[in-house]
């Protein structure tokens, strides 16, 4: 457990470049400032186009969506920095348990994502007077934790992709955009054609967001078990796929003598 904690801390500190006051400021802006500003954009745009009620719905959906930005960018850094800082070879020759190493990368990004969500909800409360009066907190918090875990699985997959392709920023940006677009955070998925709706349910957030919206208006946890189970299963599937690819890339690197596809 001690080794796991050290590993988790070092991957966060070293691979996210969190070692200077300047970087710490950047990290603070990334976790709190950027989410707050993005929520302001969507809340005020919602108020401008849809009125106060519309603004609150958009702000809630977008706050949930903020977690993916923190997790995808953070986990991507924890993999791509291994390439750019030339530390990946050391990982490959070390006897460290691969699954422990794989999981430890997300340990500190997970709470960072939750902080982004809190920053978003707080901003929505300040800017558009988000009403928390009816929230079933147990159900709401459970839904949020499961969504964050499912996004972590998805973000791990994109992170592993960064091991194979150095120039991955556009793909990451598009994947993040896709999550924002198709998971119902802003646009309800009911407006999409049926096949697209089914595809959307294979993404993280989509199923959990039904639970978040229901518990936000006071629905009991028992009403949303189905959604939460599907959200959790989605996360587990992405996590397993990511780990499989993580192992495969190592084998491929050792076989070909190359650290990434473009090398």
């Amino acid at each position: 457990m001690k080794k796991f904690t050290i590993q988790a801390w070092l991957t966060y500190k070293a691979l996210l470049y969190w070692y200077s006051l300047y970087a710490l400021t950047g990290d603070f802006l990334n976790v709190f400032g950027r989410p707050a500003i993005q929520v302001i954009i969507f809340a005020l745009l919602g108020k401008f186009a849809m009125g106060k009620q519309g603004a609150q719905i958009l702000a809630l959906g977008f706050s949930v969506q903020l977690m993916q930005g923190t997790l995808i960018s953070g986990l991507n850094n924890s993999y791509s920095s291994e390439i750019w800082d030339k530390t990946l070879s050391f990982l490959y020759i070390s006897p460290v348990n691969r699954f422990v190493n794989f999981i430890s990368r997300s340990v500190f990004h997970f709470p960072a994502a939750l902080l982004s969500l809190i920053a978003g909800l707080f901003t929505a409360w300040v800017i558009v007077g988000m009403n928390f009066g009816m929230v079933n907190w147990l159900g709401f918090i459970t839904s949020i934790l499961i969504i964050a875990a499912a996004i972590t699985g998805f973000a791990q997959m994109l992170g592993v992709y960064a091991l194979a392709f150095r120039e991955n920023q556009s793909v990451l940006g598009l994947a993040g955009g896709l999550l924002g677009l198709m998971t119902g955070c802003i646009i309800p998925i009911s407006v999409f054609p049926a096949p697209i709706q089914e595809l959307a349910k294979l993404l993280p957030i989509t199923n959990g967001l039904f639970a978040v919206k229901a518990t936000f208006t006071g629905a009991p946890l028992s009403d949303v078990y189905g959604y939460l189970f599907r959200e959790a299963a989605t996360g587990v599937v992405y996590l397993l796929i990511s780990f499989g690819v993580f192992l495969y890339i190592e084998q491929w690197s050792k076989r070909t003598g190359a650290l990434d596809v473009t090398a």
Binding site: G26, I40, L44, A49, M50, E167, S170, L181
Partner: protein, 259 residues
């Protein structure tokens, strides 16, 4: 003649640098998901003026973000590439070089702006409803110039604070809000509204909103153009002095790494 050659070379260089080593088609489509979201929200409004404002604002926001990253990191990239010294000893002024590069960046960001524009029109299913159709293009042209001036400011600024280009990920949303690309800044809370008035973009976007709504006279809109031009000039003067400060620091200390 040599100045024109230098301008041409700087424009071509910036276009090539923006394009990157490998052709990456995905990046042209990066603003698409955001444009779809904004257009969908605009479509929910019953007021055609509101939808028009958002439809016009989304491509401007896309240009602004691209310009901030592209132009804002120009000087820092020169330092990293070890070419700033050559830029300094060259007979072409740093000012000419930076302005040329910003023009090039406008050209390259037009592709993504066009893709955003097409996306918002497809999603919103709506044509523009504009009261002063003749005044809107002038307001939009001023908006692009204003975006250029603000982006230019960030180039010496980034170098002076020793920031990396990643810092724009945090700054770009601030500039979007304070510029009023997606909603008039009158929607902002009072404190942000006052801060927004420092940016020329907020004045120009006022002119855009007035041109769309048509609730004020053409002379009033011309007045807004005048104020925005004055604020732009102030930003340009600030940019000029910051570039001079960068030059002075390098020439006096002789060590680029000191700032």
């Amino acid at each position: 003649m040599n100045q024109f050659r230098a301008i041409y070379a700087a424009v071509i260089l910036q276009i090539r640098q923006s394009r990157g080593r490998n052709f990456d088609i995905f990046r042209y489509f990066l603003p698409v998901p955001g444009a779809i979201l904004f257009a969908w929200i605009a479509r929910q409004s019953t007021d055609p003026a509101v939808a028009t404002y958002v439809l016009v604002g989304v491509p401007l926001m896309s240009i602004s973000t691209a310009m901030m990253f592209g132009v804002g990191s120009t000087l820092s990239n020169e330092v990293r590439g070890g070419t700033l010294e050559f830029a300094l000893i060259s007979r072409t002024s740093m000012l000419t070089m930076l302005i040329s590069k910003s023009v090039a960046q406008v050209i390259t960001s037009l592709t993504t702006a066009l893709i955003s524009l097409v996306t918002v029109f497809i999603v919103a299913h709506q044509f523009l409803t504009v009261a002063y159709i003749g005044l809107l293009p002038v307001s939009l042209l001023l908006a692009v110039i204003s975006i250029m001036v603000v982006s230019l400011f960030f180039s010496p600024y980034l170098l002076l604070i020793r920031g990396g280009s990643g810092i724009f990920s945090s700054y770009a949303p601030f500039v979007t809000i304070l510029s009023g690309f997606l909603f008039p800044i009158s929607t902002l809370p009072r404190v942000l509204y006052v801060i927004a008035r420092i940016l020329p973009n907020s004045w120009v976007m006022d002119a855009v909103w007035q041109s769309i709504q048509g609730k004020v006279s053409a002379w009033h809109i011309a007045g807004t153009w005048g104020i925005s031009s004055v604020v732009m000039a102030a930003w340009f003067i600030l940019f000029y002095f910051m570039v001079k400060l960068v030059e002075k620091k390098i020439r006096v200390t002789g060590v680029i790494g000191t700032y």
